[in-house]
């Protein structure tokens, strides 16, 4: 197969108007810009503020509390937030992939339960993929899903709901909850009773690791083996577990600078509900990856340093970074445009992530050279703090969401080499 031709996207005028709104908000917002803010900068109050302004769940349908806007409009909002180094980690996974995934695979009841809360910035998600013995080889996951009732689940995704057809209003106590308090996504009493009675029909047993934000999340989506006899990609399904939950233990895994965003999540017979079709887990997960891999967070994690270098030490080195950034953004936008047209540019998404994440690291070396500071996480100099954040998080840039070696393998396979 030849290299596909990726047409650059053109941002519609409404997206550019949205950009001005977001810039106006960011200019007045109070937060310290940081590197890698989409993974390590969690601030639930900031997330709720974005939700209140209509900037979460942008592409979700209005009937589910979303804003019915285009993927390119979402691109503009998130690139502005990322470039500003805003603390967007709390809602990032829910907004980026669980919203679209629930919309595509969830039951009507699941959509009503989760999507409006995601759009308000009140329901954060974690993703349970990697395990102690399953990293790059994701298909070897061992977390087990067992049925707790005999009812056939083939009809599960579209089963008739006992709840009213109209979306249910939020629980009145919701707004009174403090951000740190783990909350459940909203449910009607009838739904709660059913969920607590049968736990959604499944129980999970196993351990997930490197689960970012599980300690803040209201729910976790888990890839688990639902058919023990099936091998590899077959027999995997996606499940949702609301947090906190019986049978789920979340423990911190501290990062290199002692920071807490990773967790180990242990499931010990935890009640779980199926997301999408039984046995379709692998297909559903890989379909999410084009969204997950090609977004602007794959080249903007160290943008705060780019901004600094360009303003205090402009020259060939800063220009080289800018030229590269410009091109990577165009590639990322082109993938977003292709996704919006209903295509799934897997190869291009993998390329964007491979080159984008390496760019994020190149930035560090230019900044080290041009800024004349040493990385120091507690320095009064913001440049030293940004550099420290970037240096310590940098190994993760080329690991998370599929290592660059795995990505290049995907590219080679798509090119039909050998």
């Amino acid at each position: 197969m030849a290299l596909p031709e990726l047409e650059p996207a053109v941002l519609p005028p409404e997206a550019e108007r949205l950009r001005e709104e977001v810039r106006g908000f960011l200019a007045a917002a109070r937060f310290e810009p940081r590197c890698d803010s989409w993974l390590t900068g969690a601030d639930p109050a900031f997330s709720r503020e974005l939700g209140a302004r209509g900037w979460l769940g942008i592409t979700l349908p209005v009937e589910y509390g979303g804003h019915g806007r285009s993927a390119l409009e979402r691109f503009v909002v998130i690139e502005e937030l990322l470039a500003a180094g805003a603390p967007v980690a709390a809602h990032w996974i829910a907004d980026r992939q669980m919203g679209p995934s629930l919309l595509a695979h969830g039951t009507p009841e699941q959509k009503r339960r989760f999507l409006p809360a995601i759009a308000r910035g009140e329901c954060f998600f974690a993703i349970g993929m990697s395990e102690p013995d399953a990293g790059s080889d994701l298909a070897s996951v061992r977390t087990r899903a067992e049925r707790t009732r005999a009812e056939p689940t083939r009809a599960e995704p579209t089963r008739a709901e006992p709840t009213p057809a109209e979306p249910t209003p939020a629980e009145p106590t919701r707004a009174e909850r403090t951000p740190a308090e783990p909350t459940r996504a909203e449910r009607t009493p009838a739904e709660r009773t059913r969920a607590e009675r049968d736990g959604g029909g499944w129980r999970l047993t196993g351990t997930k690791v490197w689960t970012s934000g599980a300690h803040l999340a209201h729910a976790i989506v888990v890839l688990a083996r639902s058919t023990p006899s099936a091998t590899r990609h077959d027999g995997l399904s996606q499940f949702v577990v609301e947090l906190p939950s019986d049978g789920v233990t979340v423990r911190p895994i501290r990062g290199l600078s002692g920071e807490h965003h990773f967790n180990e999540v242990v499931f010990d017979g935890a009640p779980a509900e199926l997301l999408g079709a039984e046995g379709a887990g692998w297909r559903q997960v890989t379909a999410e990856l084009a969204y997950e891999r090609s977004g602007p967070e794959r080249f903007l994690s160290t943008f705060a340093l780019v901004r600094l270098v360009c303003s205090v030490a402009p020259g060939a080195a800063s220009g080289r970074l800018l030229g590269r950034l410009w091109a990577l953004r165009q590639a990322s936008l082109a993938v977003a445009g292709a996704l919006a047209e209903g295509r799934a540019p897997e190869l291009e998404a993998a390329l964007v992530k491979d080159l984008g994440t390496r760019f994020e690291r190149e930035v560090i070396d230019v900044a080290r050279d041009r800024l004349g500071v040493e990385p120091d996480p507690v320095s009064p100099d913001p440049a030293a703090r940004l550099l420290a954040q970037a240096v310590v998080q940098a190994p993760g840039f080329t690991l998370r969401g599929g290592t660059n070696e795995i990505l290049r393998g995907i590219v080679a396979r798509a090119l039909e080499v050998g």
Binding site: A2, L3, P4, E5, L6, E7, P8, A9, V10, L11, P13, A15, E16, R19, E79, A83, F303, V306, R307, C310, S311, P314, G315, A316, A317, S318, G319, R320, L322, G323, R324, L325, W326, A327, L328, R329, Q330, A331, L333, A334, L347, E348, L351, V352, D354, L355, E405, L407, R408, G409, V411, A412, L415, E416, V417, G418
Partner: protein
């Protein structure tokens, strides 16, 4: 142009020929991108880019970009475009003018004036790039019958950089295809070399560099007068050219370094074109000057192309 697919297919067929120029003229393709009223074949820069990509893809030795540049320059100055291969000489004396000794006419840009001169009216010191294409030092003899011209030497340099970028992306695409094919066919240790992870990683790297450069150049084509966009496009195309040539040769092994092998016609052009109209360092310096408020610059060029901003 009416039909993009037809244009692509015709361009591809013609530029695959050993001596494409007569066929290009015959098919009216040598004047694509130059207004019909000026004597060209009509069509816009996007149509011309289709041809230039095909030229790069086939490594065709024809002054298509140069003739386009000269034709559009003359049209902007309301001068008729003479037939035959043309080139722009940016000053009364200029170094490394592409295809000067093979041009039917030379378009001399002297400050804010332009003149068309015959080869006999200039002194030419021949030079050649590593692909064997003429790159000659040119000095104009005598007086010029020049007319006012709205296009500056800086405009020509910018447009030249964009056109070379397009050519580079065509050559990179073919280099990738040849390399992927070779990796699938060449067997060592009892299996195609493309089965080895080390080689697969190189192919992916090659594809990545080529793909990012390609989309950057396509994006810049929408705003051809925007210095930031064109600078970024050339920077990426030139950077990718070096990486692609290195990787393509590494995967081909010694088989790729003979003049019989088609890869050489591409990689020699990649090495030559990446430096012409400014290499990575040149454009990096420009971007550094222009991008002191970087995010505003980077995001300025995502929207629809400005209307009527392109004078030529």
């Amino acid at each position: 142009m009416a039909d993009d697919r037809l244009l692509r297919e015709t361009a591809d067929a013609v530029l695959a020929l050993d001596e494409p120029w007569p066929a290009l003229v015959e098919a009216g393709l040598a004047g694509v991108g130059v207004p019909e009223e000026a004597g060209g074949s009509g069509g816009d820069l996007a149509d011309a880019a289709v041809l230039l990509r095909a030229q790069g893809y086939h490594g065709a030795a024809v002054p298509l970009a140069e003739t386009l540049l000269a034709g559009r320059l003359l049209a902007a100055a309301a001068l008729p475009v003479p037939p035959g291969p043309l080139t722009v000489v940016p000053g009364r004396s200029a170094r490394r003018v592409p295809w000067a000794r093979r041009a039917h006419r030379l378009v001399v840009l002297d400050g804010d004036r332009v003149a068309v001169v015959a080869p006999d009216d200039v002194e030419t010191v021949p030079g050649t790039n590593v692909a064997g294409e003429p790159r000659d030092d040119v000095t104009v003899r005598g007086e010029l019958a020049a007319v006012p011209c709205p296009v500056t030497a800086g405009d020509v340099a910018l447009r030249g950089a964009l056109l070379r970028s397009v050519q580079l992306t065509g050559a990179m695409r073919r280099a990738l295809e040849l390399t992927v094919r070779h990796a699938g066919e060449r067997e060592q240790f009892g299996r195609p070399v493309g089965r080895f992870q080390a080689v697969r990683q190189q192919l992916a790297e090659l594809a990545g560099e080529a793909a990012v450069a390609d989309v950057a150049v396509r994006a810049a084509l929408r705003t051809p007068g925007d210095v930031f966009a064109v600078a970024a496009a050339k920077l990426n195309a030139s950077r990718a050219a070096g990486a692609v040539a290195d990787l393509a040769h590494q995967v081909h092994g010694a088989i790729g370094v003979t003049s019989e092998h088609p890869l050489g016609a591409l990689t020699t052009r990649l090495w030559a074109w990446r430096d012409e109209f400014g290499g990575e360092a040149h454009w990096a310096r420009r971007l550094g000057e222009l991008g002191r408020v970087p995010w505003e610059e980077v995001t300025r060029t995502g929207g629809p192309p400005p209307e009527g901003a392109t004078v030529w």
